[in-house]
Symmetry: C7
Subunit: 96 residues, 7 copies
């Protein structure tokens, strides 16, 4: 489930769940007009954001976390034939 | 009333009151053109916002609080068949 | 004059004076094209804004203060049959 | 010359000079297309702006100061039959 | 060359050089389409900008300095029959 | 692989991989409508961003790193006949 | 190569290289649609930017440095018959 990409700063790499997936907790993404968060699994985490004071603010998510994130969050990339999203930790709403 | 979702940072999960609901305190949302706050109950609270100094600013709301929030605040999601809103604590106007 | 709503952060709840009201100090809102501040009474005050350092900056207004505020400041709500405005302390121009 | 209004934060109350007024120092506002500063007298001063560190930054103007300010600065109000402007100290260009 | 106006914060008062003026250093403002800086002399200087920490950042220009500034910088005013510009120190590009 | 250009602040110089290149890790840039990150190699790194406190925040990438960056990141330049991109470290998504 | 202009803050004065110039290092500015950085030599450097803490952040370039900067960076001026650009240090991409 881990991935050999080292995101910079507060970025994370997420493997999006398949559209029809239903998590262990029973999250279903209903079909309405309003933007819905997406479900995925974190496969790589950066070291954290460097604040203006030089402090590095450690990320609060870890590899393996199931997360909710905004529909348009992140940038798509592919690695060894699989699609991933690279986004900032602040694009993640919650851990399930 | 609690929910097994762990919001990140200063996010909270709110269960919106039904449109016709009237709180114990007697809040009624009158029907005028101006945007009105919505009433709901907090079901999950994040650890708080990480300030630039690295300090985590603890949230001032807790699970079970009845809250007022902006009509367009937050992102809808559903969990075990119920609808919830994920929003930032700063989107909440007041605790009732 | 107090109200059982607990505003968050630097928010306050204001009961707007009736349009024809004239304060004890003799403020009259003349009828010109330019936006005029409104007069009201504070009925609830939040604990203050949490600065980035974690410091909570205490509010400088208190329940019972007659205040001037911008015409379009705040969000309307109603409570036990009366209309109130929830606004940030920074939307208040002055205490009369 | 003082006024019984307590402005909040870094706000001040200014009594605008009459349009034809000429200050003791001899400031005249010539009639050109470019926006000109206005002349007035400060009649009330707030306690100062609360910085993010909690520090209150004391105002550098005081009641009685003749000041120059931008043409569109501030919000008009009236008090005991006279017109005043409530503006931020940063809207003031200079003390004469 | 000094002027009895006390600018606030980081503002300065500048007496613009006549359009045809050529400074001792030989600056000439050529006539091209691109915006050119203007030349003037500082006649009054504020105490400096108050930073968020409460620190006052002292100005780095002084009365008598010949300065270059942006064509549209500042606000015109007149004092004892002469035209001046009130601008922020940050609108000044360089001392000649 | 190093380059005799000294970028300022948090800027880096990147040599973009040829469009058909496939990295050792097997990154392929699929052909879809959505913007994809680009792959390149860092050939020069600035000393880091100077924060407001005067602290220089050291870069977290080094010469030789294979990196992913946004399609429109950076400014093209050429040096001794080769094309390079100068971008900020924050434009880099991840090290491969 | 030095110039008797004292830029303020983090500003520098740059003498742009002639369009056909090729630096000692062999930089050539190819002719494509994308904006290319320009090459020039620094002839004057300000004392550095004053941060909010009052700290002056020393510049990292010096008089005589060959620099790359954005095509539209800075403001043109002329001095003793030569054209110069006044820009902020942050407009400079790299030292060659």
């Amino acid at each position: 489930m881990s991935l050999n990409i080292k995101p910079l700063g507060d970025r994370v790499v997420v493997e999006a769940a398949a559209a029809e997936e239903k998590t262990a907790s029973g999250i279903i993404i209903p079909d309405t007009a309003k933007e819905k968060p997406q479900v995925g699994t974190i496969v790589a985490v950066g070291p954290g954001r460097a604040a203006d004071t030089g402090t590095v603010i450690a990320p609060t998510v870890k590899v393996g976390d199931k997360v909710l994130y905004g529909k348009y969050a992140g940038t798509e990339t592919s690695y060894e034939g699989k699609e991933y999203l690279i986004m900032r930790e602040s694009d993640i709403y919650a851990v399930l």
